[in-house]
């Protein structure tokens, strides 16, 4: 290239830059198109911002809350929750029968269910999908394999599940994505992560650019009521601050999971947006290593539980966007009791000091603990949470806390290996039953992931019995007993229960999120 050529190239570059920066004035409005459908008073399109990610569009492998939400909008199970409630109602199955021993469940499918491309749904599709999950054996497969022995199609519209044991909450399990029938184009017995064919659901996936945009369009072949909004666009954000700015600039209509507590507080005060509060079923708790000193000593664990002030945590760290929690079973769920409140109260410094004294600690010989947290996995508030916990424990004058942190990959590794003493974790439910909040934590054969090393034969027995009984009252008694043992042994200290917040522009309506915390987009609308 000659010198003249290079000069021309550079001049061209400058001109290009000038043109680029000079085009601010373009007045054409192209952001969220809101042209009305003919005959509809609602906007054709609605944009939802999220900081979550879609991980895997294959229900045989997807095992995170947000992906389950998307799958719930493009697929359906044999039964589903009535939006906004915990009531289970027929979905792809019109009705069902249960054998006397609760081990054989027969479902009769509706005959007008079709996949998004018009392929009719048959019992064989349900069987193929369930067997596919069992064969692939991905992360969520245990929700099927732990319970289902085999599944059969009696005819085109009758599916029979044979269970390994009677499971009282089998219908709750059926509402989870591993039980959703998938389109025949999903790869047989192999994970198909980017498959967008979906299942039978109110929406179909029209476009997906990973981590950028997901476009859902109403499925014209859906048997049920047509969604109120024809097109739902999900915009993925890396952080909550950018999402908040996008909401304020009108780039999105709804800011969903998850804005920062401070953002929610200030948007509430601003008064320009609807801030819709929904009780959430996710919980946060402290894990205590029962195999390592000094938390090996039960009185130390009890003292740590007694010194906590959950209301203070809620206000200081989460600006009131969470509720105090005194059990692993969330507030409002049947069988929940405030076991820790009854036994220790709140900020019971005197009791904590006495228990520590019995364990051999005092002002001259303080208890020294390491408190671990992971900086980003649970949002930006985690460092503050650790700091406030430290302050509360150190208020006793007998505890010295050393705060430590590790990135998620490392943190999980440490937890599984039982290398940490005191550490923070959180839990989103798989299915809505007290079993999901107790067995994975407290049953010695199921809690190795948590690294607390907790094992109590009495607890194991109670939980096993509660899992197989059908009568809810009998089960509730057993779960209450489990919560009391938990408060006595303290391998975990429940801290808070999260609330969910939907922040929406004026004119957006139809937000119905139930205790399953899944946002069903088909009830959403935006007034013109």
């Amino acid at each position: 290239m000659s010198k003249r050529g290079i000069s021309l190239f550079l001049i061209g570059l400058f001109v290009f830059a000038v043109l680029a920066s000079g085009c601010i004035g373009g007045s054409e409005e192209t952001s969220t198109a809101t042209s009305a459908q003919s005959g509809s008073q609602y906007a054709e399109q609605l944009v939802i911002g999220v900081t979550d990610k879609v991980t895997d569009l294959d229900p045989a492998n997807a095992y995170d809350f947000y992906t389950w939400e998307v799958l719930n909008n493009v697929m359906e199970g044999l039964v589903k929750y009535e939006p906004g409630t915990l009531e289970i109602k027929p979905a792809l199955a019109e009705r069902w029968e249960v054998s006397d021993d609760s081990k054989v469940w027969t479902f009769y499918l509706r005959k007008d269910a079709k996949f998004a491309d018009g392929t009719p749904l048959k019992a064989q599709d349900v069987v193929r999908s369930i067997e596919r999950v069992m064969n692939i054996n991905g992360d969520p497969a245990w929700l099927v394999t732990d319970f289902v022995d085999k599944v059969e199609a009696k005819d085109d519209y009758t599916v029979v599940f044979y269970l390994k044991d009677s499971v009282s909450y089998f219908l709750s399990l059926l509402t989870t994505p591993p039980y959703f029938p998938v389109h025949p184009s999903y790869k047989p017995n192999e994970i198909d992560s980017d498959q967008t064919a979906g299942g039978v659901g109110p929406y179909k996936i029209a476009k997906w650019v990973r981590d950028e945009e997901l476009v859902l369009e109403a499925n014209e072949n859906y048997y049920g009521e047509k969604p109120k909004t024809e097109k739902i666009i999900i915009k993925f954000y890396r952080d909550a601050s950018t999402m908040r700015l996008a909401l304020q600039n009108g780039e999105i209509d709804i800011a969903w999971r998850t804005l920062k507590p401070t953002d929610i507080e200030s948007l509430k005060k601003e008064g320009k947006f609807q801030v819709i509060e929904i009780p959430g079923a996710f919980i946060r708790y402290v894990c205590l290593n029962t195999q390592k000193d000094p938390t090996k000593e039960v009185k130390v664990r009890q003292a740590l539980a007694a010194a906590l002030d959950r209301a203070d945590l809620s206000n200081k760290v989460f600006r009131g966007t969470v509720d105090p929690l005194y059990s692993l079973i969330p507030n409002g769920m049947w069988s929940h009791i405030d076991a820790f409140k009854e036994k220790y109260g709140d900020a019971n410094i005197e009791l904590a000091k006495n228990l520590l004294k019995e364990a051999g600690y005092d002002e001259n010989n303080p208890l020294q603990i390491q408190l671990w947290y992971t900086p980003t996995h649970y949002g930006d508030t985690e460092a503050d949470l650790a700091q406030v916990l430290k302050e509360q424990w150190e208020k006793t004058g007998v505890i010295k806390v050393d705060i430590k942190s590790a990135e998620w990959g490392t943190y999980v590794d440490y937890a599984r290996k039982g290398q940490m003493q005191v550490y923070l974790l959180g839990w989103y439910p798989d299915y809505l039953d007290p079993d999901d909040y107790t067995t994975p934590f407290l049953k010695s054969t199921a809690n190795s992931w948590a690294g607390t090393g907790y094992a109590n034969p009495q607890m194991d027995e109670v939980l096993t019995k509660a899992q197989t009984l059908v009568d809810q009252n009998e089960r509730a008694t057993l779960y209450e007993q489990a919560q009391q043992i938990l408060a006595e042994d303290v391998p975990y200290i429940p801290l808070i229960q999260g609330k969910l917040f939907v922040v929406a522009s004026p004119g957006v309506g139809g937000v119905k999120i139930g205790p399953d915390m899944i946002f069903k987009y088909y009830t959403l609308y935006k007034e013109e």
């Binding site: 000069s7 400058f14 680029a20 601010i24 990973r210 890396r238 998620w408 999980v412």
Partner: protein
């Protein structure tokens, strides 16, 4: 001459290989030294049998000895295969992500680069021409302020002013939701021109203004200083005095001076390009720009070895290539350089 240039380019090109190899080795070692396990990061706290964990680890090739993993990946890279992702979702070719994300970064970088050079030249030339005046002091102050600005803070200020307050420009993303654009190169602005999609062109342009201006302004400070000092040097030389004596117009003199001051600026452009890519990581995060920067940051969280290795090696190769181009341009511009 032509043979000389060819040889020079070939040798410089071959030099990229050891650079990339060293970087790959460093990244490989660092990822393995850091605590944490990609499979556990994906599985998280959910209950999973140890044998299932082992199965996943074997599927990802993490059960093999380290030296086997190292050479396996190297061998694959030589064949253009950057392996498969270990997280979200597992098993997707990393190349697919590079193809998807790189154009976004390239587009942002090109615009940021253009703006930084433009602003740097403009402020530098003004400073030199007005040497010793308040304007010159102002330009020098500009260069210091621009150089020290923190991208996320400055970006958020622009987002707030031009987005939230005046509603003039979008604050995040590359294009408005639901706007259809047929992609050819992955560079949205060029694609919209190529496909004749005026609406998408305006929209994509609006989206790139804030992030590229943030990036460009922050990096322009270095140019301001260099251009000013070089121009001052050139403007004090005899040939400029001769021009002035002959009554050549001021703007022409400035243009000749700028041409003469250009050689060190080209070198800086090459160096800046690497810094620019680093700045792009911060800018992408601030503006939710779906490029390589946000991709690497996401993947580090999950210890996705293959994705991080692949992206870093790809970046290194790209920077090496740009550096090669700059060296060649430099050599062409400077008559003193012999091949």
């Amino acid at each position: 001459m032509a043979r000389g240039v060819g040889q020079y380019i070939l040798i410089r090109g071959l030099m990229i290989i050891p650079t990339v190899l060293i970087l790959y080795t460093i990244v490989f070692i660092f990822l393995r030294i850091l605590p944490g396990d990609p499979i556990l990061a994906v599985v998280g706290t959910k209950n999973i049998a140890p044998e299932q964990l082992e199965h996943l680890r074997a599927m990802a090739g993490l059960d093999k000895p380290l030296y086997v993993q190292y050479f396996d990946y190297l061998w694959r890279m030589l064949h253009g295969d950057f392996g498969v992702t270990l997280a979200f979702p597992m098993g997707k070719p990393v190349v697919e992500y590079l193809k998807l994300r790189f154009p976004a970064t390239l587009e942002l970088t090109l615009f940021g680069f253009s703006i930084s050079v433009l602003l740097g030249l403009l402020t530098g030339v003004i400073g030199a021409v007005k040497k010793g005046t308040k304007i010159d002091a102002g330009m020098r102050l500009y260069s210091i302020i621009a150089y020290t600005l923190f991208i996320p803070w400055f970006g958020m200020m622009l987002q707030y002013i031009f987005g939230v307050h005046f509603h003039l420009l979008p604050t995040s993303g590359r294009i408005s939701p639901g706007l259809d654009l047929h992609t050819i190169t992955g560079l949205y602005i060029f694609d919209s021109i190529l496909t004749g999609n005026g609406e998408a062109f305006i929209d994509a342009l609006k989206h790139i203004i804030l992030p590229s201006f943030t990036l460009g302004l922050v990096l322009s400070g270095a140019y301001t200083r260099l251009v000013r000092n070089n121009m001052v040097d050139v403007l004090s030389q005899d040939f400029i005095r001769a021009y002035k004596a002959r009554g050549v117009r001021d703007w022409k003199i400035t243009w000749y001076a700028l041409k003469n001051a250009f050689i060190p600026i080209v070198t800086l452009m090459g160096l800046q390009f690497a810094i620019l890519l680093g700045g792009a990581v911060l800018t992408e995060t601030t503006f939710n720009w779906p490029g390589m920067g946000t991709f690497i940051v996401d993947r580090i969280d999950y210890r996705d070895y293959n994705a991080i290795q692949g992206a870093v090696v790809f970046f290194a190769f790209f920077v090496g290539l740009i550096s090669l181009i700059v060296d060649v341009v430099y050599a062409l511009l400077d008559p003193r350089v012999k091949y």
